[in-house]
């Protein structure tokens, strides 16, 4: 029969070992680990739930990085390994449009059902697009990185209308990203440049400790 003193000693040593193990566990980057698991299990293949437009309200205007300067003669600049081109808002609006009412979810925990109108990002993607997409505001102060699968998701929109009205400046006029398979931080406002790139792009909130993948 083991004596209690020895058992307590083992318990204490076990506790120290456990504490050390937890410290080691902290050195793993959980976001990268969870991204690998999520991409393997689900990717971004599922459609997000949609809601009746009557439930839609204006979301909070969180985040004004990259929105300070006035934009004159805005055009969307698209870059891919084979070259670059510019599109005006009228040219974008001439592409097939999509209207949808989805739930915008913030990392902070709040969410809001919102109606959007725009054109799916896949309509401007090159046929053989590389693995990643980088989106930046015209002043490049806010920037977002996406995996190609999420960027080409049919509900990923380049939107110019929110709840039946043209976008206001604080919600990202003239053109913003709506990507309901990701947290709000990926829904970049006032897009200046979209770049299709083989390299994993920098991401504003990832640089500040948040999950690069930011999937929902």
């Amino acid at each position: 029969m083991s004596n209690p003193r020895r058992s307590f000693l083992k318990f204490g040593l076990g506790g120290v070992a456990l504490g050390f193990g937890l410290r080691q566990a902290l050195s793993i980057n959980p976001h990268e680990w969870n991204e690998a698991v999520t991409r393997r299990l689900f990717g971004a293949r599922r459609l997000t739930p949609t809601f009746p437009a009557s439930q839609a309200k204006d979301p909070r205007a969180n985040g004004d990085v990259g929105l300070e300067e006035e934009v004159q003669d805005w055009q969307l600049r698209i870059e891919d390994p084979s070259g670059q081109r510019q599109l005006t808002l009228a040219q974008l609006q001439a592409l097939p449009t999509n209207s949808m009412t989805t739930e915008l979810m913030c990392v902070e925990g709040w969410s809001q059902v919102v109606s959007w109108k725009g054109t799916p990002l896949r309509n401007i993607a090159p046929a053989q697009a590389p693995e990643y997409v980088s989106l930046k505001t015209p002043d490049e102060l806010y920037y977002v990185g996406l995996d190609l699968e999420s960027a080409l998701h049919p509900q990923t929109l380049l939107a110019w209308e929110m709840n039946g009205q043209p976008l206001t400046p604080e919600h990202g006029a003239p053109l913003r990203l709506v990507i309901p398979v990701k947290y709000g931080i990926k829904n970049i406002k006032r897009i200046g440049t979209i770049q299709f790139t083989p390299h994993r792009p920098k991401d504003y909130w990832n640089d500040r400790g948040y999950d690069w993948y930011a999937a929902l």
Binding site: F11, N29, P30, R46, E103, M105, P180, D211, L216
Partner: protein
């Protein structure tokens, strides 16, 4: 001889080694989940606003990104430990001592009367009394609830089918929060009861013997 790989069934034992491990792993893991959960909760304290001094003293402010990292790391260990515990109790037969049986409601009421000093006669001798059975079975169901609502919050699109079970994204957050409050309540009662039960009972959870 300490053999973590063998199921320790000995005559004099109260708690098998496996259950002691699950129990003592769960304590730091649940603490880490609650702490990292509070780091997340600070960013949008929609259900209950803790006073500012609490957030400040506990260093919970402006740490949403830390909170998400820790929460989404330790959730794995917390869930694995919980699943291992349930699997072990199911396969080892320990569940017989833990699941409330016939007449457990009336017995649990007697336990409460006894613990409040209203019932004077001693309780029947058993490994766990009926009130403990409800508490320990209930807390496992709460764990399941935290897991399901947690997944519904963590991947609300890819695991969107869970929203039918939990009533949508914001409902899942409310339930997840209330369950956490319940763990704290469970902990306070549990500690009070362990102190009341005395040293030998506590020793049994560490060494296995009473």
């Amino acid at each position: 001889m300490w053999r973590p790989w063998s199921f320790p069934f000995q005559m004099m034992q109260k708690h098998p080694l496996a259950i002691r491990w699950f129990h003592w792993l769960n304590f730091p893991l649940l603490s880490l989940m609650i702490w990292s959960g509070l780091l997340i909760y600070w960013a949008n304290d929609a259900f209950f606003a803790f006073p500012d001094w609490f957030y400040k003293r506990a260093n919970l402010e402006f740490r949403l990104s830390d909170g998400m990292q820790y929460h989404f790391l330790f959730m794995w260990l917390f869930a694995i430990n919980g699943v291992a515990y349930v699997t072990y109790t199911a396969l080892s037969g320990e569940w017989r001592a833990l699941i409330p049986g016939r007449g457990a409601f009336a017995q649990a009421f007697q336990v409460v009367l006894h613990d409040l000093g209203i019932r004077k006669e001693p309780l029947p001798v058993a490994k766990y009394n009926a009130a403990q059975q409800f508490a320990y079975t209930g807390v496992v169901l709460m764990g399941l609830g935290s897991l399901v609502t947690g997944l519904a919050i963590y991947r609300p699109v890819q695991l969107g089918f869970l929203h039918a079970l939990v009533g949508g994204y914001q409902n899942a957050r409310t339930i997840h929060f209330l369950l956490t409050v319940s763990y704290v309540g469970f902990f306070l009662v549990h500690i009070a009861q362990v102190v009341r039960a005395g040293w030998s009972n506590f020793q049994a959870m560490v060494t296995g013997h009473e």
